[in-house]
C-alpha cells in the first residue's frame, strides 16, 4: 500500500471518532513506518489552570488514538482493533501553548494481537514528553465480529 493510501485511510479512521474531532486531532504524517497525529493546544484540555499544562488525559487520548490508528500502517485491510492495554511514562510536562505530536508504530503483528509503541513530543522528537506502549486485539474486518472492548476503535 502506498504512503498516500495509508495517510488517506488514517484520515478516514480519525474523522469517524467524535472525541478526536472535539480535541481537534489531525493526521500530521503517515507511512508504512508509522503514524504521527497532532493535538492542537487549547484552553479546554488544560489540566493545571495555574501553569496551563495540558491534562494527561488529553495526551492519553492522543496516544491511544495514534497507537490504535497506526495499525493501518501494517494491516492490508481495515480491521477493528480495540485497545487491550496502554502504558504512558511521562518524561516531563508538556509546555503550555504548544501543540503536541504523537508518533506510533506497530513493532509486532500476530494473528490476534498487535504490539505498538510510540512517543509524544512538541518541538523535538528526540526530547519526548512521554513514552507509550499499547497492545491491541485484532477483531478481523468489520461485520465479521463487532463485539469489542474499550479503546479508540
Amino acid at each position: 500500500m502506498s504512503d498516500n493510501a495509508i495517510a488517506e485511510r488514517a484520515q478516514r479512521f480519525l474523522v469517524a471518532l467524535r472525541h478526536c474531532q472535539v480535541l481537534g486531532l489531525s493526521v500530521h504524517h503517515a507511512d508504512a513506518g508509522g503514524l504521527t497525529l497532532r493535538l492542537p493546544y487549547s484552553a479546554q484540555i488544560v489540566g493545571n489552570p495555574e501553569s496551563g499544562v495540558i491534562h494527561g488525559g488529553a495526551i492519553t487520548t492522543l496516544m491511544d488514538t495514534t497507537c490504535g490508528i497506526s495499525t493501518v500502517c501494517v494491516l492490508p485491510d481495515f480491521e477493528v482493533c480495540p485497545t487491550l492495554d496502554l502504558r504512558i511514562d511521562y518524561m516531563h510536562p508538556a509546555e503550555p501553548h504548544k501543540d503536541v505530536y504523537g508518533f506510533a508504530e506497530c513493532y509486532r503483528v500476530t494473528p490476534n494481537v498487535i504490539f505498538t509503541r510510540g512517543y509524544a513530543y512538541q518541538d523535538d522528537p528526540a526530547q519526548p514528553i512521554a513514552h507509550v506502549v499499547g497492545t491491541f486485539m485484532r477483531m478481523g474486518k468489520p461485520g465479521a465480529q463487532l463485539s469489542g472492548k474499550g479503546g479508540a476503535q
Partner: protein, 147 residues
C-alpha cells in the same frame, strides 16, 4: 491564578459540594467529571456524553476519555483524602481495558496503595452497570512533594 486548594477542599467537604473543585480543571469540565461522596469514600461519575464517543459503531466511549477520567479521579482522590495542598503530577499511567465502555454513565473509585513523601501509588477501577464487572482497571504514580 493562585488557588488555595486546601481551603477549596475543606469547603467542598464541609458543604458536600465539589463543583468548585471540579470546575477548576478545564479538562474535567470538557469531559464532564462529577463526584459523589458516600460516607468516607468518593465515587467519581462521568455522565454519558456524545462528545466522549470514540467508537462510532458500538457506540463506545473513547479509551482515552476513560483513561483521562480515571487519571483525574485519582488526582482528585489524592487532593481530597491525602492532605496534598497542590495538584499531584502524573509520573506514569497504565490501563487495562476489560470490557467495552458503552455510551452510558461511567463510575470510578480509587484506592491509594501507598503514599510516600514524594510519590503516591493509586489503583483506579471503572465500571458502568455493575461494580463487580469493571470496564477498566488502571494504576498510576503521582509526584506529590512539590507544587
Amino acid at each position: 491564578m493562585n488557588v488555595d486548594l486546601n481551603k477549596l477542599v475543606a469547603e467542598a467537604h464541609a458543604k458536600n459540594d465539589y463543583d468548585a473543585l471540579l470546575s477548576l480543571t478545564p479538562y474535567a469540565r470538557l469531559i464532564g467529571i462529577e463526584c459523589l461522596r458516600l460516607g468516607d469514600d468518593m465515587v467519581f461519575r462521568l455522565p454519558a456524553n456524545r462528545d466522549n464517543i470514540g467508537n462510532p459503531m458500538l457506540p463506545a466511549l473513547h479509551g482515552g476519555v476513560i483513561a483521562g477520567f480515571m487519571e483525574h479521579a485519582a488526582m482528585l482522590h489524592l487532593l481530597m483524602f491525602m492532605g496534598i495542598p497542590h495538584l499531584p503530577k502524573i509520573i506514569d499511567f497504565s490501563i487495562d481495558y476489560l470490557r467495552a465502555g458503552h455510551y452510558r454513565d461511567t463510575y470510578a473509585q480509587c484506592q491509594v496503595w501507598r503514599q510516600g513523601r514524594r510519590v503516591a501509588n493509586v489503583a483506579i477501577t471503572a465500571w458502568q452497570t455493575n461494580q463487580t464487572e469493571p470496564i477498566a482497571t488502571a494504576r498510576a504514580h503521582f509526584k506529590v512533594d512539590e507544587p
